[in-house]
């Protein structure tokens, strides 16, 4: 294994942070001539809440898309569970146990909340097309079993009252929560959240923060999230990566990052030379 694997430790609030789960090594991503990400390395440890922050256009979402396989970087390596990951399509990444949400909410609008959450269970359903088609034995048992997980997730995120509502009828804040439920239902080993608090009012932000902490606490789920609201992130996360103009300008605990001059400059908008 690599030198990044450190001893596990216990946080002040009693959660155990384990060894390295995912490691990004020297990732560079370009779109034509535009450099979205330049030579960025960082790691995500098991059980932690890892934030990626930065001003608009810093390349945070690109980074998340690299992790979830939506973008393939020109350079660099992605290591997951101690193994180098070959180039993968997004659905293959999802099948490895990496679930995500989207900045602009990507839900199945025409389907009910329950159906949406059930799609999160697809990777845990193994029966083939044929036995599904004739609906015999295993297929039915499997459906019930996964239904139970979906219902528990729904209870956990307190959206029981809209279980049978088509998603298209829900307000924005609830949609965000349903999307989280769908990702969570997959029981992922790594949960990626792309601006989970974007566009929310203060109350909704508090709710969402609570859910993120609860998920991490209750299930020990490793979470990597993107935000540009500094305040929220600092309270939530164990460690923070700061990006600006596609480069990493800071990495460490919230306190370390807060006192980092480069980070302060980036957020206050000091001229780049």
């Amino acid at each position: 294994m690599n030198q990044m694997t450190e001893q596990s430790y216990v946080t002040e609030d009693g959660r155990t942070i384990g060894g390295t789960l995912m490691e990004m090594r020297n990732i560079s991503l370009r779109f034509g001539g535009v450099k979205a990400i330049t030579d960025i390395s960082f790691d995500i440890r098991e059980g932690e809440i890892r934030a990626i922050i930065g001003p608009n256009g810093a390349g945070k979402s690109s980074m998340l898309n690299v992790i979830s396989g939506f973008y393939v970087p020109q350079e660099g390596e992605v290591w997951f569970r101690g193994e180098k990951r070959p180039p993968m399509r997004p659905f293959e990444v999802a099948r490895q146990g990496i679930a995500r949400t989207f900045q602009n909410i990507a839900l199945f609008e025409g389907m009910t909340v329950l159906d949406n959450v059930m799609t999160g269970r697809l990777n845990h359903m193994t029966t083939g097309l044929f036995s599904q088609a004739i609906w015999k034995g295993k297929a039915e048992a499997e459906e019930l079993q996964n239904r139970e997980v979906a219902e528990k997730t729904i209870d956990f995120l307190e959206i029981q009252h809209i279980r049978k509502t088509p998603v298209s009828r829900l307000p924005y804040g609830l949609k965000k929560r349903v999307e989280l439920a769908r990702a969570l239902a997959a029981q992922p080993s790594l949960l990626l959240l792309d601006e989970p608090m974007a566009g929310m009012n203060v109350e909704e932000k508090e709710d969402m923060s609570r859910f993120i902490l609860d998920v991490n606490d209750e299930f020990g789920t490793t979470i990597a999230l993107i935000e540009h609201d500094m305040g929220v992130v600092m309270d939530l996360s164990d460690r923070v990566v700061v990006m600006d103009y596609g480069k990493k300008i800071g990495d460490g605990s919230p306190d370390e990052v807060r006192n980092n001059q480069a980070v302060i400059d980036a957020y206050l908008g000091v001229a780049h030379d």
Partner: protein
């Protein structure tokens, strides 16, 4: 009861049966449209191709016989064996799945995210290609298809109605079977789409590609599955129509009849396809029966289209279609 009313009832029932056959073709359209947003103009030709392949396999025809003979100066036509119906149907289904894979691999995979009109044009191209390909592969003769479905007047209904009204209704056994099969097919499809894992994945893909990818759904698998399902529906329709009127190239024209059916029922609704099919089937037969004699007949050719046109004016989304409301 006056004779006219009895005849009318008989016509009505036969209209229902014809409607079921229309609905079968329309169903194939709805399926692909719902799952991929593609309006598949080639659905009718797929039914023809399926029927051609089925007959070809059953009669042990050598595929591409004309081409082979013309190129090599040989004279092969038949393998000299007959394949039983059930085996031939399974083999044909295999061919339709292969076709689904090819269609996705060579055409629609490359058109992801394109405008609907471009996808539609691609299916028109596919329709012409398949028609020509079917011709080269199996020849253009009109063939009889007999998979063992009973045909001809249903004695029980004839007798029953004779005893009841003193006039026996003519209901074709094949039509009864078609109704039975279509009902089964629809129930199976709805259950599959609503309650199975793959059905759920199919609806997910139709709704949002990105989100579908993020929960681990392979788009390619689902697309091939959807086209295979459409191929399966085409095969069923091909068997019914082929048995009824022989396997001939004019079969692909029944696809045109599916258009008014869809306009009536709505392009996105499975129940719509059925109800639309029944209305058109009954409508054109009854119209021909009542109005036909006054205008010199042949109203069946245009009635469906005029009805669809009227619908387009007053209810463009169809009976069951989703009304599109643009948020400003």
């Amino acid at each position: 009861m006056p004779e006219q009313v009895l005849w009318g009832m008989e016509v009505f029932l036969n209209g229902l049966m014809t409607g079921v056959l229309y609905a079968l073709v329309a169903l194939g359209f709805v399926l692909i449209f719902k799952a991929s947003g593609i309006f598949n103009f080639s659905q009718g030709v797929m039914a023809l191709f399926a029927a051609l392949t089925l007959v070809g396999i059953m009669e042990g025809q050598v595929p591409f016989a004309h081409m082979i003979n013309a190129t090599f100066g040989t004279s092969v036509h038949d393998f000299g064996w007959n394949v039983p119906a059930v085996g031939a149907i399974l083999l044909t289904m295999g061919v339709m799945v292969a076709l689904a894979w090819l269609v996705n691999h060579f055409i629609f995979r490359h058109l992801v995210g394109q405008e609907p009109i471009i996808l539609f044009m691609a299916t028109i191209g596919l329709a012409y290609f398949l028609e020509g390909f079917g011709d080269i592969m199996w020849g253009s003769d009109i063939k009889e298809l007999d998979v063992g479905l009973p045909q001809g007047i249903n004695g029980t209904i004839d007798e029953f109605t004779y005893n009841l009204f003193g006039y026996g209704f003519f209901i074709d056994n094949l039509d009864l079977w078609a109704t039975f099969v279509a009902t089964l097919l629809v129930i199976a499809l709805v259950l599959f789409a609503q309650y199975s894992k793959h059905g759920r994945a199919m609806r997910a893909v139709a709704d949002d590609h990105q989100a579908a990818l993020s929960v681990g759904i392979s788009l390619k698998f689902i697309w091939v599955m959807v086209w295979s399902l459409a191929g399966f529906v085409a095969l069923v329709a091909g068997i019914m129509w082929g048995t009824k009127s022989g396997v001939q190239f004019s079969l692909s024209l029944i696809a045109l009849k599916a258009l008014p059916v869809l306009m009536l029922g709505g392009f996105t609704s499975i129940p719509g396809a059925i109800v639309g099919g029944l209305i058109i089937g009954v409508g054109e037969k009854m119209f021909e029966f009542i109005v036909g004699p006054m205008v010199g007949g042949a109203t069946e050719n245009w009635f469906a289209y005029v009805l669809a046109l009227i619908f387009l004016v007053f209810r463009p989304q169809g009976l069951f279609g989703e009304k599109i409301i643009e948020r400003v």
